[in-house]
Symmetry: D2
Subunit: 326 residues, 4 copies
């Protein structure tokens, strides 16, 4: 199936990805990881919930950590352009027969909860409490110096179907991996905000959240984080990298939080605001697709991910295998 | 005069700044500067004209160098979203009584030439020839490793008026400097593409082009360029920096090309796609506005710029003075 | 006067510069600067004295801060190879008619206090308490990430005489600035440990300590420090830089501590262990000598320094003037 | 066997490692690798031989490439302090019953060829032709920006014996790996010039040259080299890294030249000039020894190396196994 033409005139205007809510089993352990080690800033916390933002963000939260008995991802949040977009979003999802519900979320304007056809819980809102800038409060920077949430990556049981759906919502494909034998999509990167992706999809048991990525200023911040993690008890949490992605051209590192949620640190992809930007095609058998320098990803990276709370995953139809580290 | 509220629903959709055409007096000298030293890539050249692109750009040109008897800036180019936007742009400018003309430009679809109220020549188009990606042809990277054109900065005889006009076209203010005594704008940064600016305006004899900026991957690329320029005959072309801007938070360097056109190298501002992003206000008397580390800019930086071909500049009304290096 | 031939067989073996003791007027303010901002580690402290080391040092201290009524530099410390060297040092200084005295210094083996002919107080020892390595305790790194003390720079009323004396002690000249008109030395860099210098001399009212330098991993650590200092109340303490030195080729920044003691952050000079290394000569009139990128140093940098406690400075004979920022 | 106490008063004074001569089978392929890709500078070349230096070196060569039918390492070169040292070196080796021979080497003063007890061919000289500095000719920098040769690493059939011999020559151990079960040395790093090593030894079939390392300014230069090598046909030549060594704390990358000779790029170890520096002990079973971030080295890295021309290797006695990537 060919990559669909971009839908330049979607029914509603998604500005960007906004936040993710994680169910975590030990709030103190998560705080030590996300705040003390990674470098995110606490914007609110109770005994049950911690809200976090990155250094250049003025919206109230990009990660919400909620104490729970079992780890999971609750939903992916997206910011819409205006209230009209929110109403048109409701119509869009309702017409598809997907669940729509208005929910109250602290620090957000009224929020539409729905899901994509595979079951990923999605929440849309227009405004979130705005906080004073801290991007020049340099004494607060530490860890990986995360500047902003950059993207989500989800396992999908059918990347072709996921891309068709998100394409209809106006997400534009920037790069994709095709299984040469079947001509089907193995993975695709789609964006709204002008970078390589707001959300990507990878073939696998899904829906599951593969990872959440943060933009960092330079590769050296990733090296600093590796030095700190490897000498403060987080050696086993380092999963893959550092390296340069073939796809996106970004410098990357993948780590796992105390519950196994995967976080990527990501630096320097490219600007994609042109509506006529040509998607770049990669072959599933090209090892440089994953890592430009040739190193394959470990098996865990291909197999493990966070289930969405209450959403069962299904096996993918496409059985093609990427190159996996021995 | 307060900063105008952003116009989120402009008459036509400007995607981003696109390119500038410079009149240069010695094409070989300009080539040595832009290609051999700075690191831009030639996409076409004749004895009269050189077209250049930066490393991640797929559009044909971001700088056009034209041989001429006198140095100058011919026009600023902007990319529009679709053909309807181009037609609505024509109407917009015509209604304002500004000149509109359809011109042919090599490698571009039909192009609308007009000007802003102060006389800055503007050219709008929808599509430009797309070239194969070179962002992973790492053997071509050198000089400052320019990734893409980032913004223009223009002297304006009335920044208040310029901001009002560009605001109407949908440019949103991200940061601005106010003269506390008169309450008038001394400078403002306005964007379309989701960074701190596509075009900024600074109080001064105008209209003139103050500088054209290129995004580079990290401060180290700027340091590399300084080392090369200072040891290959370009010592006098280094004008200001390196430093961290207070406004935009970017790491910067300003250099002058062989004709005196000012080029900035710029790294790491922040994402501004939120329609409710709050502009940041700076006081003209705050030295950290210019350089977070306190160093004032030299007099030449405040006084010199490139006239637009055939457009006379006028003195600004606002006589407030910034802090200038002694 | 020509630069003397290196004395490859000095009477005693100085391994490297070791430490400096500063008299400071407000110990808490000094602690906030050196520990919280710069990133040095406290190895001992009382209400009167703070001992500091840098991240890769295993010796007990590289800076000693002593509470005093007036700011000053008490002495420069150097490590000798063995006890025989210490005894031969005593003979060397006594023969010159310079004061020699055995003093007790905490954490050091017996220490010889003496002075150079201009009056710089020098202290020599063989062993200092050794501490466990912390260079891989990455959670402790912050500020400029200082790795080790790198060099001293002193004003001298006669650089020719200083170089002759230190040359006799085995310090080898790596680079020097000559006043072309008189043929006299205006400045010289001399080393023992295999870098560009352990101690340098600059023409001026002296003896005074011009600055003490710390080696940092990369220019980015200096940029980080600038960002922090300029946003945490230390804007006025930034004196010169960042830049690339012509002499030494190092990337540099000069800041002032709360008492005005000047500290340099310094990265990437070159290896000088070859006994036949040729000194590099610079002309006093060459602006790239100071800063490869052409920016002259400010007047304060040429005129201000720390007096050694109880040692009066004398005016230099050589009146030649370097290029000073207007 | 415990690590021997440093011999601070060796019979002769070795200043530093100097150069290596490689037998290569395709001089043009080697030139493309070392000059065009890595960034070393040619100082002389004929149809049979290429001499190379790194950017801050003033001696004539650090690598000599000689056309040959079979790949190999001809000898390791070291610089001595003075002619007396050269004569005392001859006596030292002759007394041990090791071969001594005076040879003529282009661009070097008279040269003593001998070998260590396991058969590593060693060449000692005092002076080499000195060339004008190029460390500020920044237009010449490219590839990994190699600044200077940093160290050799050799497989040894008995690291205990190698360390005892080089210790007697004045090399001081900075770090070492012990096989906990037998108490024998598995690897050791020994220096003369004040860094972590001039030469290291690793348990294995030997003598063989494991790798030759070059100092580069920062981790970013290693990332740049990876980007270039992986996109210009050298993907398969990337063997291990990038990463942070536990031992030495340096940032590293290992690549293979067209004949399989292994080259390391290495940045930021620490200063070791103190004669009382305490060696750091590592356990062979500690994975952070190899890579602080936990990634084990591939099998090829433990097994492959360059034989010295005409010298047969012997199997090591110690059979302990390090952690190898699956």
């Amino acid at each position: 199936m060919p990559v669909p033409q971009p839908n330049l005139y979607p029914d509603f205007n998604i500005v960007r990805l906004s936040h993710v809510e994680f169910a975590v089993t030990d709030l103190a352990a998560s705080r030590a990881f996300y705040v003390d080690t990674i470098g995110l800033q606490v914007t609110d916390e109770t005994s049950e919930t911690i809200y976090l933002r990155a250094m250049e963000e003025r919206g109230h939260h990009c990660i919400v950590l909620k104490k729970a008995d079992a780890a999971g991802a609750d939903h992916l949040g997206f910011k819409l352009f205006d209230e009209g977009d929110l109403e048109r979003a409701e119509v869009f999802f309702a017409k598809k027969g997907l669940p729509v519900e208005w929910v109250e979320r602290p620090y957000q304007s009224r929020t539409l909860r729905t899901s994509d056809p595979h079951g990923i819980p999605l929440e849309f809102y227009v405004t979130m409490d705005r906080l004073p800038p801290i991007h020049q409060r340099y004494e607060l920077y530490h860890g990986a110096r995360p500047l902003r949430i950059d993207h989500f990556n989800c396992f999908s049981p059918s990347v072709d179907d996921s891309v068709a759906f998100y394409n209809e919502m106006g997400f534009r494909v920037t790069e994709y991996t095709e299984d040469e034998e079947t001509g089907r999509l193995w993975a695709a990167w789609t964006h709204r905000k002008g970078g390589v992706h707001d959300i990507a999809f990878t073939n696998g048991l899904g829906p599951r959240l593969h990872h959440t990525a943060f933009w960092v200023p330079s590769p050296l911040n990733i090296i600093d984080l590796l030095d700190v993690m490897s000498t403060t008890g987080y050696l086993k949490n380092i999963e893959r990298g550092p390296g340069r992605h073939g796809i996106s051209n970004a410098f990357f590192l993948y780590v796992r939080d105390p519950d196994g949620h995967r976080i990527e640190f990501y630096s320097s992809d490219y600007q994609t605001v042109d509506p006529d930007l040509e998607p770049i095609k990669w072959d599933l058998k090209d090892p440089q697709r994953q890592t430009l320098w040739g190193a394959p990803a470990p098996r865990s990276w291909f197999e493990e991910g966070s289930l969405f709370t209450g959403v069962a995953g299904q096996e993918p139809e496409l059985k093609a295998q990427p190159i996996i580290a021995p």
